[in-house]
Symmetry: C2
Subunit: 448 residues, 2 copies
């Protein structure tokens, strides 16, 4: 059938003179095999860690009612959300994070879940953001949360998982910077600035980007010069974790529930031999408004410039839009794209081209069945191998095998299932001849 | 902070009297842990098979230019597509399958890919279909294709993978029903009905649903009574694969490229000892218009009523909308949702509640750090275990542990890192007391 006669062609109305340019939307990406293999390997290692701690996966729809995702209000988020009217006239939107759908999920399924509930969710989210500064409009988040428990143990477990997961994937030495929003608010109450809490915390969150002078200016506009000075003094780190905690506790009016929580977390860090990975940094506040307790950001010591690769905190009212029952929780989110960029910078990416160990060469196309029969015997032993389907020159087949990341090429004889086999070692450019399949398989297991 | 004062609450404009009903869109689903664990386990087993044969993963954006997905035309597909205008005024749509994005991907990246190229893609797609008959608007497809090769070996490899993948995941005995559209078209040419090929093939594809009488009527309307009779006679199975092939070859005017292809595939089936899994069924035509060569559907012998769980075929012009270069290919798609439903019916679903083997009980909340230190020593040995964070009654902790799928509960002593441990065997409701951690770990490895 000619191209123009092909029914798909006719239906879609194409003509040879009228090709559609094959391109993806700005801010979106294809993942070619090498990149996708790397991404999947990383996700598998992250998942393995989550599972080791008793976290279980969930999934939620990509599309939700807009009202569910955005509530009734407007705000910055709304401008970025992919939103439209569906076939049934419903106002729908693509999820812009995994937290809001999780809140809806909890309100809906709470009775079916064992509490405290530990879930992870690794999935794509979409934001129609400005694509400057290498931001993507489609990206992957890895969220993990414990809900139904307001204990130091739950806070600490999230911190421990951040540390151990990043170290399991080779991100090197890291520093998790912790703070407590509740303690900050006690201090703001003491200086009569609690009513400006959300705005102040947001200004402080931008300190690293905006610089000290601009931060002071913004704070002064909010609460005047004297109180701006007090806030700036509060958010300065005061030495060790312990020294900083003592200073903050004093500034907040003495020992309280929140300072006790930080003290207990510090003890847990020592109990598990992980104290060196943590710092108390009073300028960490997190931009998102729903945090109420501990908050944290994670920096790689070898790459501090890329910013936090894993952030989160404690919230008390996540499901409050949908349910009257309070549901405290604590969680964190790994930015997978940023993390991959970091691991690439650190040279920690393996760069595999494929999953096969080797290839069965094709000498005569009509022997394709016999080649598969040979390959099946290797696959049954867990040896991944590809059967080439075209009887091209062997040198070309060797080249293609190398492109696909193969270590060897098995060259069948005249009668593929009976004749002796030749095994080409692509790395050493050597041949072993006169092998039975069992002898070849033994060698391959050795090389694997 | 009170609920109403919580900034998230304020931003989203909620009030206690004004809750948003937590519900998902019709045709969409949440996956709770048990279902999601099952889905992920199944995907992992399918992926393991793809990898064993040399297939590599890719990923493409969920959103594409509408023109890319739908071409310039309209048709049945367009009505089902989630389509909208984005922030930049672009006409965009959510992918409704993985084949069209793959065609665009090939046209864009062909030069970067080793040919023949074997890829798999497991991802969600969206169709605003009628949700009657248990259809979902969001569902997962598992596609695998070989492009850049028009050989019987490539056709056969896809068939072999269908067979071995479904059998690896416990779908039981199956029958892959094969046909060749090119041979069918030769026959139609011979009876002077080739100009109605697409319409005839579509009518034949619906034979099982529509019944013989309605099919005859439709065919008569298309090509008249005599030729309708010839088509009905062609699509009747004529005994064994070989007998049917002989009859079809004769009806199509004698031995030709297409009948040779089927003969070669049959030989490959014998060479690999898989012949019993395949049948030649001339009424299989596939609804999609882009197939040009072999086509196939897969039925489970224990559950024929659920329809095909894996279908596909050979196409020659998939990327033709975007590129002038022909790119022949052959591929298939597993319908994951239908397959899961089938495995559930067959009782082949494990029903795991989580990934943990056991739980560390919590006796005193301030010992949370020490409990984690104990757990870390087990996790370092690959033993997945959860640390409970609340010092509830032990019987309650046992119950919760069972709900989470744990086999045992480790009960620390007064000094968690020094005192002897007690190990509760939840299955046998027995305790082992006075254990060191090493002794407990040895038992746990035995139980795993």
């Amino acid at each position: 059938m000619s191209l123009q006669k092909n029914p798909l062609w006719r239906i879609l109305g194409g003509t040879m003179a009228n090709l559609i340019e094959p391109k993806v939307l700005k801010g979106f990406r294809d993942f070619l095999p090498e990149a996708e293999i790397e991404r999947r390997a990383l996700i598998a290692r992250i998942e393995a860690q989550f599972r080791l701690y008793g976290f279980v996966p969930i999934d939620t729809p990509v599309l939700e009612y807009t009202e569910i995702l955005l509530g009734k209000g407007g705000g910055e988020t709304e401008k970025q959300v992919y939103r439209f009217i569906d076939h049934g006239g419903r106002d729908v939107a693509m999820r812009f994070d995994l937290t809001v759908p999780f809140a809806r999920f909890l309100a809906e399924h709470r009775q079916e879940l064992p509490m405290p509930f530990k879930r992870y969710h690794i999935a794509k989210v979409w934001r129609g953001e400005n694509t400057q500064r290498g931001r993507y409009r489609e990206f992957t988040q890895c969220d993990f949360d414990i809900v139904g428990s307001d204990t130091a143990a739950a806070d600490f477990e999230i911190l421990l998982i951040i540390r151990n997961t990043l170290s399991a994937i080779g991100a090197g030495d890291l520093c998790i910077q912790v703070n407590h929003r509740g303690l900050f608010n006690r201090f703001l109450d003491r200086i009569h600035a609690l009513d400006q809490s959300a705005a102040i915390l947001r200004v402080v969150d931008k300190l690293a980007k905006a610089g000290a002078a601009a931060t002071r200016e913004s704070l002064e506009r909010l609460v005047g010069g004297e109180r701006a000075g007090a806030v700036l003094s509060y958010i300065e780190t005061k030495g060790s974790f312990e020294e900083t905690l003592a200073a903050l506790t004093q500034a907040a009016g003495g020992s309280c529930f929140e300072s006790e929580r930080l003290r207990q977390l510090r003890r847990f860090m020592y109990d598990t031999g992980t104290a060196a990975s943590f710092a108390l940094n009073p300028s960490i506040t997190r931009g998102l408004d729903y945090y109420t307790g501990v908050v944290y950001e994670t920096f790689l010591r070898d790459l501090p410039g890329i910013g936090s690769v894993c952030s989160g905190g404690r919230y008390d009212h996540l499901a409050a839009l949908y349910s009257r029952e309070a549901l405290p929780g604590v969680g964190s989110s790994i930015g997978l794209d940023r993390l991959i960029a970091a691991l690439e910078s650190l040279g920690k990416i393996a760069g595999a081209k494929g999953y096969i160990q080797g290839v069965i060469a094709c000498l005569q196309e009509e022997d394709g069945g016999a080649y598969q029969a040979l390959a099946e015997q290797l696959r049954a032993q867990g040896i991944a191998c590809e059967v080439f389907s075209e009887a091209e020159k062997l040198t070309r087949q060797f080249m293609l095998a190398e492109k696909k990341g193969a270590r060897w090429v098995l060259i069948p004889g005249k009668k593929p299932l009976e004749s002796p086999l030749t095994l080409r070692d692509l790395a050493r450019r050597q041949d072993r001849t006169g092998l039975t399949l069992a002898e070849a398989a033994a060698l391959l297991r050795e090389w694997a």
